[in-house]
Amino acid sequence: MTYFLDLFMSGLTRGSIYALIALGYTMVYGIIALINFAHGEIYMIGAFTALLASLVLSSLGLTGWGLLFSVAAIAAIYSAMYGWTVERIAYRPLRGASRLAPLISAIGMSFFLQNYVQLAQTPNFMLFPDLIPQMPFLKPVAGYLNRTQVMILLFTIVSMVALTFYIKYTKMGMAMRAVAQDITMARLSGVNIDRVISTTFIIGSVLAALGGVLIGCSMRQIYFHMGFLAGMKAFTAAVLGGIGSIPGAVIGALILGFAESFAAGYISSSYRDVVAFIILIIILIFRPEGIMGQAQTQKV
């Protein structure tokens, strides 16, 4: 039972990180039908920014919760600037071009950012500081739940709730839903779609950066290529849940997280990715639009 709970918790936290990244993929796809392959790199940049910020801030004497939250905020803001810039220089000029063009541009951006970080920060694994303060109140459940997992779940839940409210109740959230449904009509109703798209990239980047900070705290090491596999997994999660659907991305990410964790625990850790992708294949055979996705009827 303890073993099961262990695997369950690790699946839940793994799934939460995937969900934070997958939301960026699914929101961007929902709005401009672009698979933003550079998104995994934003997550990586979030982790590196957090590393640098934590070194500077802790040398200035900041510790504990203050350090954690200011590092997370700096990583989020800095990555959001990257996300915004990537959209501005790599995708916006290609708006209206064939769908392949921005896709290639996204792949190029991904290589560029990876290599840039490799050159700037060396290709080595870098030690990530333990930013999460001790939580004495966790003593009774110490066997099942550690402070890193608590923090990951907390960040994820708060971000999801905030995002849901943002999309449902604010002017910009409503505009996002309108643009996702009919971009021309949104424009004709007076919505500035460039601003909506920029905001989508900013929100996606903030979430990915938080994911990067959390994975750093959890794995205690980061490196320039970490965004690739994480990005692929999160993209898988988004497709699994139905790309374009926000609750779908969260559900898909959790399924993927649990599948990987249980496969690694009960079969073998080398089968982890195999099981994850078998699930993806099965779902795509029987429900190609994904779990929460809506089948698209092509209009003539």
Binding site: T184, L188, V191
Partner: protein, 276 residues
């Protein structure tokens, strides 16, 4: 000479003070197909103008050129926002800017945001009249909240005026067809347009719905200080509501004038019925 300096853009054309919008020499070419050929069309302030013509004569293409969906190959669109304000060229502007300047339209095939509620559809129309940007959205300061509350109030009042308030929280896709048409028009009105362009609003409506639409259009004209340009095939509707009619055929303007003149115009009859 003095007249020319008073109204430089249109002094040669016509009395601009009576006009709200004019399209000058509009042409749209798709590859080798000339969809619109050098069309001049003007809309008088506070009037209902109709645009008719056989299928494929370029009416919707004209709408698309004016509202910024297409970039016209040649020609200009000039808006005269008010008598004492300078005129604005809308040529080549993106659709959201044109909407902001005061043009709003509806579509032949209804294009609502199906998965948004009725009220939210109208709120999207308010977007262009709201100022709060990213900063306001992030901080949710007092000004932003007040602005959003005002937008909801404005939109709900529009729904009340046009009889859709009882369905405000329904998803747009669940509305009956006639109400969807009406909602599309209300959403366009939410942008506070100076010119409202309606593309076949009576398409698919039955006789009683068409008659309700006629009342709706007349009501809008009276309540909203808006000039209307209407594409329509329902001749009884066109002839009763419009002050001036333009007739297109094969992308050209073949006739213009008041309804009784148009009904007798041999070129119009020929375009619709063919020759013996």
């Amino acid at each position: 000479m003095t007249a020319a300096t008073d109204r430089p853009q249109s002094a040669a054309k016509t009395e601009s003070s009576d006009l709200i919008l004019s399209a000058l020499g509009m042409s749209m070419v798709f590859g080798g197909l000339v969809a619109l050929n050098n069309v001049d069309l003007s809309i008088e302030r506070d009037s209902i103008t109709a645009l008719i013509g056989p299928n494929g004569s370029g009416k919707t293409t004209f709408f698309n050129c004016v509202t910024g969906i297409y970039k016209p190959t040649r020609g200009d669109v000039i808006l005269y926002p008010a008598i004492d304000l300078p005129s604005i060229s809308l040529k080549g502007k993106p659709a959201d800017v044109i909407t902001h300047q005061g043009l709003a339209r509806t579509f032949q095939n209804i294009r609502l945001f199906n998965n948004l509620t009725v009220l939210e559809n109208v709120l999207i129309g308010r977007h262009t009249r709201m100022k709060a940007g990213l900063w306001g959205a992030l901080t949710r300061n007092k000004k932003t909240r007040q602005e959003e509350a005002e937008a909801i109030e404005f939109s709900f009042e529009l729904l009340v005026t046009y009889g859709l308030d009882s369905m405000a929280n329904e998803l747009a896709k669940n509305l009956p067809y006639g109400d969807q048409r009406r909602l599309e028009i209300v959403r366009a009105l939410a942008t506070e347009p100076k010119v409202l362009l309606l593309d076949e609003p009576a398409a698919g409506l039955n006789i009683s719905e068409t008659s309700a639409l006629r009342d709706l259009i007349s009501n809008i004209r009276e309540n909203e200080k808006v000039s209307i340009l209407l594409i329509e095939h329902d001749m009884s509707l066109v002839m009763t509501v419009s002050k001036k009619i333009y007739v297109f055929d094969y992308g050209r303007l073949i006739a213009q004038g008041p309804p009784d003149e148009i009904q007798r115009d041999p070129k119009v009859i020929k375009a619709y019925l063919g020759e013996d």
